[in-house]
């Protein structure tokens, strides 16, 4: 498998504080990557550095021979889709909200092809029923799907998702992550998502990146997730076991005094 996206020596500073330091990893087509680590460690910052919502101090983000950080943001938007943690609503139909994702490809106005692409994504995500629903009347799960659809109509090579399952109930969490998996497989793209839930990450991601002190602490497939690594990163003892053939992580000693 060829590497699709390679991040090298990425460094980000907020004022004079080092947030990210020498971040490096690479991913392949069809992979889903989970970026893990405690709150405030810079997971979201890392994601935003990849499509230059934030400007990294140093480093490169190579996507198929191109350094994304050298491109203007409109060009990046044609290559990388981003799903933020919070989705703003307004008096728009879901169709209009998703159509906005065509912005990087639109000249003066939308052409029929733009509408057809939006329509196709609605079909693909099984959202046809609420195509003309207003997003300010939608549930959190539906809204998250709208945000993913919006990123998909950008026709990206890489999808960035900032905690796609926060604020969702268990069924919606599984729904959304299943959708992401299918999309990555069907379009042969890659997805990088920040997550808090280790068990969901274990079920849905191929590669795991643990961030600690602004650096990649460890990264690799399932077998890097050990009680030792998790204690090092989160400072909490955990137990890892198998339940019905699935690996899961539960907190170890929870002492209530």
């Amino acid at each position: 498998m060829t590497k699709m996206l390679t991040v090298n020596e990425l460094k980000f500073m907020y004022r004079n504080k080092n947030v990210l330091n020498e971040i490096g990893f690479s991913i392949e087509q069809g992979q889903v990557i989970a970026v893990l680590g405690p709150n405030g460690v810079g997971k979201t910052t890392l994601l935003k550095c990849l499509n230059r919502i934030l400007k990294p101090r140093e480093g490169t983000v190579m996507l198929d021979e191109e350094n994304l950080l050298d491109l203007d943001i409109m060009a990046i938007a044609r290559r990388v889709g981003y799903v933020p943690q919070r989705v703003e609503t307004g008096r728009l139909t879901a169709f209009d909200a998703v159509l906005l994702g065509r912005r990087p490809h639109i000249g003066w106005d939308v052409v029929p092809r733009d509408l057809a692409i939006v329509n196709a994504v609605f079909k693909k995500l099984g959202m046809e029923a609420f195509r003309l629903s207003f997003i300010d009347e939608m549930s959190g799960g539906e809204l998250q799907k709208v945000a993913i659809a919006r990123a998909l109509v950008q026709e990206p090579r890489v999808l960035l998702l900032d905690e796609p399952t926060s604020n969702l109930d268990l069924k919606n969490q599984v729904d959304i992550l299943t959708t992401i998996r299918e999309v990555v497989r069907d379009h042969n793209i890659a997805a990088i998502m920040t997550m808090h839930d280790l068990n969901l990450a274990l079920r849905f991601a191929d590669i795991f990146i643990f961030i600690k002190n602004g650096k990649v602490h460890v990264h690799g497939s399932q077998d890097i997730i050990t009680p030792l690594v998790i204690e090092e990163v989160y400072g909490l003892p955990v137990m890892i076991g198998e339940l019905g053939g699935v690996r899961c992580v539960i907190p170890g000693a929870c002492k209530i005094t």
Binding site: D72, I73, A77, V80, P84, T93, R103, L115, R150
Partner: protein
């Protein structure tokens, strides 16, 4: 990469057509009001004769003069100013992500009033003249306009400078505007304290915005500025839609949010400043016309910007016409009428909720 089948959903097309229908309907209303506005007043001219005169086939030279010299520039000014204030308002509401944003909120109107007060009280541009139509006139309207415009732009410059150094966040811009608004209002009160009765009357008179102040000399300039600003906002409609979806989403689809915000604010402030300086303070149009249109066509800026422009023209034209009918032949407090007419309609629309 997508398995698109080229199918454009018909129900979506029908849905957008409805919005176009609302805007086109409002446009027809503007035309009707335009003829009506010219036809009513101290001398009533039948609408048919208004049309004849406008197309150069007038039968009465008296009507000719009334229409070409007085009513036509006034009606056109109402359309231009209403459009300008409404598009400035809709752009500010989007850029600042605040439903209460308008040329008023950002202190631009107060700055204009302060400038007018300075010109009248400090520079002596105001005097009493007893005519029936205008109990108070400003003897040097050009000086007042120029000083008012200067202070409008000063307020804009302060907002932009602070945004430049402290980042273009909506909070910074709005709070700066509110502070400036309070500062200039206090300045007007301070000056009024030291003014004579005549000057005081002239300042108060100026602050009641009046589209009747426009002339054939000033109208083209205002029209060019408003047309330019409207085109600029239309050109940026996708960017404003993107900003409405959140700053991060906007950046992720390729919008330079800071620059869009900074340039958009400058254009909105400029168009407001030109209108305020020439016609005086006309509140409510910039705030409420966008919200009226939101109830009819939703928040999509593709339809909201042209819709608001038309709604602004309707409201100001209707207010000016009614003002002339009910208080003729005295001064025409169009600024008061915009709220009198607009508020009930707005409250009705709020009650009714969104158009589905």
């Amino acid at each position: 990469m997508h398995t698109e089948d080229g199918i454009v959903p018909q129900d979506y097309l029908d849905y957008t057509r409805k919005k176009v229908f609302w805007i086109a309907g409002s446009l027809v209303l503007v035309l009707v009001l335009f003829v009506l506005a010219i036809s009513v007043g101290a001398v009533a001219i039948p609408p048919v004769d208004v049309l004849q005169t406008l197309f150069g086939a007038g039968t009465s030279s008296k009507w000719d003069r009334i229409i070409w010299n007085i009513r036509l520039p006034q009606a056109l000014a109402a359309i231009v100013a209403g459009t300008g204030l409404a598009v400035a308002g809709v752009a500010m509401q989007s850029i600042l992500r605040n439903p209460l944003a308008s040329p008023y909120t950002l202190g631009i109107s107060s700055a204009g009033a302060f400038g007018a007060a300075v010109s009248i009280i400090v520079l002596g541009a105001g005097k009493i003249q007893s005519t029936v139509a205008n109990p108070v006139t400003i003897t040097n309207p050009y000086l007042t306009t120029i000083v008012a415009f200067f202070f409008c732009m000063l307020a804009t410059a302060v907002i932009l400078l602070i945004s430049h150094f402290k980042g273009t966040s909506p909070e910074v811009m709005i709070l700066t505007g509110v502070a400036l608004s309070a500062l200039f209002s206090a300045g007007v009160m301070f000056l009024q304290f030291f003014s004579s009765d005549t000057q005081l009357a002239a300042v108060v008179f100026w602050t009641f915005g009046d589209v009747g102040r426009s002339t054939w000399e000033t109208l083209p300039f205002m029209a060019v500025v408003v047309a330019g600003a409207t085109l600029y906002f239309l050109f940026n409609r996708w960017n404003y839609n993107a900003i409405d979806a959140g700053d991060e989403t906007a950046q992720s689809i390729g919008v330079n949010v800071s620059r869009t915000r900074l340039v958009g604010m400058t254009v909105a402030a400029l168009v407001s400043a030109v209108i305020v300086a020439m016609l005086g303070v006309i509140g409510f149009v910039g705030l409420v016309c966008p919200h009226m249109m939101r109830r009819l066509v939703g928040d999509d800026q593709r339809y909201l910007i042209p819709g608001s422009a038309v709604a602004g023209a309707v409201l100001l034209l209707a207010s000016d016409t009614v003002a002339r009918v009910i208080v003729a032949p005295y001064i025409r407090p169009v600024a008061v009428l915009t709220a009198f007419l607009g508020a009930p309609v707005f409250i009705y629309l709020l009650f009714r909720g969104y158009k589905r």
